[in-house]
Symmetry: C2
Subunit: 365 residues, 2 copies
């Protein structure tokens, strides 16, 4: 059996707690002989700052580069609001994305039937929802240069951020979206602002070409990002795969996640390119939710998004799709049994702590 | 009685139809001696392109600069999808905003009780909703330079857009937001991505300073634009005034509008600075909805957003707030009577065409 090398980066806030439940799962998989994982742990975000005055240490970056996959908790919190911009908690995550070239961010927005009523949307608008947002993650305004604040004198400053996209960056994220669509409902909706942004013009042009040249069997639609956002709120089920740039993807994937009412349940995967020699790809898996400092350390956090992110690792990094399916089924069964952490608690259901939820899922397995 | 000079720019699609109902209203106000408007009409968007191969002619730009207020319909449609970027329909609107320095875009998101069920959100989440989005409109990535597509050879192109904000641009939009909040629920939420964008860092810093220095009596909160978008979907009533940049404002105001279920009802105002000498400000008023080419020319369009935009002109340009209140009341009364255009039609209500709706509102007045 192959040994898979994992780097666990719990991060801040509820990160360590929810990561604890993934560790429990890994230990069991190892001891039951179902799979073989070798784990190492590192610091990222505020916890790295507290220890080393950086958002991730060079040592942990080296471990990240050497790992088969990174399992990431969450970063940030008011404690680090005043630290210098370069070493703010988010910088650690952004560096991992950039240095590992994790250009493809997959964010499924799925509505768990048992939780549909937690959505602010009407049940009929979200029940059965299953869309996949494919967000470009290493380009655009997140990393473009110049990115500066200049003092102009007279009490005036000028801030500049730069959105940059090259053809190849749009092509490769397009391919990820089209490939995924083929295994789903075969439809891709590309979103940009071509009526205002040159990067939107190029994005639209390249998506159209990749589609025509390589994926004519998939349906491709184009939407302006603002009206796409509206349609997402109005009737999200019209979408299958949505592909969009880094900044629009940040907004749209969060909104899609919130629509489902299952925010505390949603995982994500950030993938690099497949290496032609090793056939491997760098990857980082993290829940969509943040570090929730207000409930940290209280055993209240929902570990499902974190466990489900580990499930995505099994699927996308280790070709253990069947095992990932079993984890998904275990989560669904535990929810159906009425067990709920505080974030998804409703009348008539049974309260569970972080560990109780993790244990219940493991027991189902 | 002062004479107010209006430039009507109906634009494309349903623009001319809904503008027709504003004309009907203006004619009546003039003939009843309630106010005195002098109107002129121009072309913008696709209709200007068809006539002059530009998105707005120099003649109409001169008229726009000379008018006391511009009443704008909508632009765009598939007919002009392939026209050159510089003369695409939207360019006319963007030029008006920029050349008239209309930096403050006011977008109320109000849920009409009679229409709450048209929302995809649950009634309790939107009933009574009344928020104001204040969007910066002449800066940011919409107008920053460089804004280019460069051919790199080897089949590669590079697209660049630039987000630029200076201190004074953030200050003046901040003041608009704080002033509005004082007349409302006294709360401003500023949204940016300071964890990723330098413009977000400056935006946050300047808002904090303006607040401290000039508006300490108003409550100021800061949200990251992505989580702000989530909160908007989850529980929009937690907001009063939201102030944000041009691109985030584009997305967030559209999403807020869609939440209400009243998209076809919502107006907007785009305002310049008050001239110290004349005490006047340049202004453009337009509905939030687009040109809806699919229903154009069929008498199906809802004229309420357009009429309500004219109401905003009365309020913000001509100090005729009482008259604007009357128009709002007339709209509410007509809705309460059960009259509905196709976009807001539901069981048990009476169908109305564009003109029937316009006439009914006028009759109420
Ligand atoms: C933490 C932050 C830098 C990050 C982003 O903006 O990409 C987060 O919002 C996300 O979506 O993963
Ligand atoms: C038509 C388009 C250029 C415009 C924008 O992006 O600002 C529109 O979406 C709006 O919100 O007024």
């Amino acid at each position: 059996m192959a040994t898979h090398k994992l780097l666990l980066l719990p991060g801040d806030g509820i990160g360590p707690e929810v990561m604890g439940e993934v560790k429990r799962l890994i230990d069991w998989l190892n001891s039951a002989g179902i799979a073989k994982f070798e784990t190492d742990t590192g610091l990222v975000g505020g916890s790295a700052y507290d220890a080393h005055k950086v958002s991730i240490s060079e040592g942990d970056m080296a471990k990240a580069l050497a790992a088969d996959a990174i399992i990431f908790g969450a970063v940030g919190g008011p404690k680090w609001d005043a630290v210098p911009y370069e070493v703010r908690p988010e910088a650690g995550l952004l560096r991992l994305r950039k240095d590992l070239a994790l250009f493809a961010n997959l964010r499924p927005a799925v509505c768990y039937p048992a939780l549909a009523d937690a959505s602010s949307l009407k049940r009929e608008a979200v029940e059965g929802l299953d869309i996949m947002i494919v967000r470009e993650l290493t380009g655009g305004v997140y990393f473009g240069e110049p990115k500066t604040i200049t003092d102009l004198g007279n009490g005036q400053k000028r801030a500049v951020d730069t959105q940059v996209y090259d053809t190849y960056e749009i092509e490769r994220i397009g391919r990820v979206a089209f490939e995924l669509a083929r295994k789903r409902k075969n439809k891709v909706t590309s979103m940009e602002k071509r009526n205002v942004m040159k990067s939107g013009v190029l994005w639209n042009e390249v998506m159209t070409q990749v589609h025509k040249r390589e994926y004519p069997d998939v349906t491709l639609e184009h939407q302006l990002a603002d009206s796409g956002g509206m349609m997402l709120v109005k009737w999200p089920k019209q979408f299958d795969v949505i592909v969009t740039d880094n900044l629009f993807g940040d907004m749209l994937s969060d909104i899609a996640a919130m629509l489902t009412g299952s925010l505390g349940m949603l995982p994500s995967a950030s993938l690099g390119e497949v290496d032609v020699k090793t056939k491997k790809r760098k990857a980082l898996y993290e829940p969509v939710h943040g570090s929730a400092p207000d409930i940290a350390g209280k055993g209240l956090a929902n570990p499902i998004a974190m466990i489900s992110s580990f499930g995505m690792a099994l699927r996308y990094s280790f070709d253990l799709g069947a095992l990932a399916d079993k984890i998904d089924a275990a989560i669904a069964a535990v929810l159906a049994s009425g067990l709920r952490t505080a974030d998804i608690k409703s009348e008539g259901t049974t309260a569970a702590s972080t560990t109780q939820m993790g244990e219940a899922i493991l027991k189902e397995l």
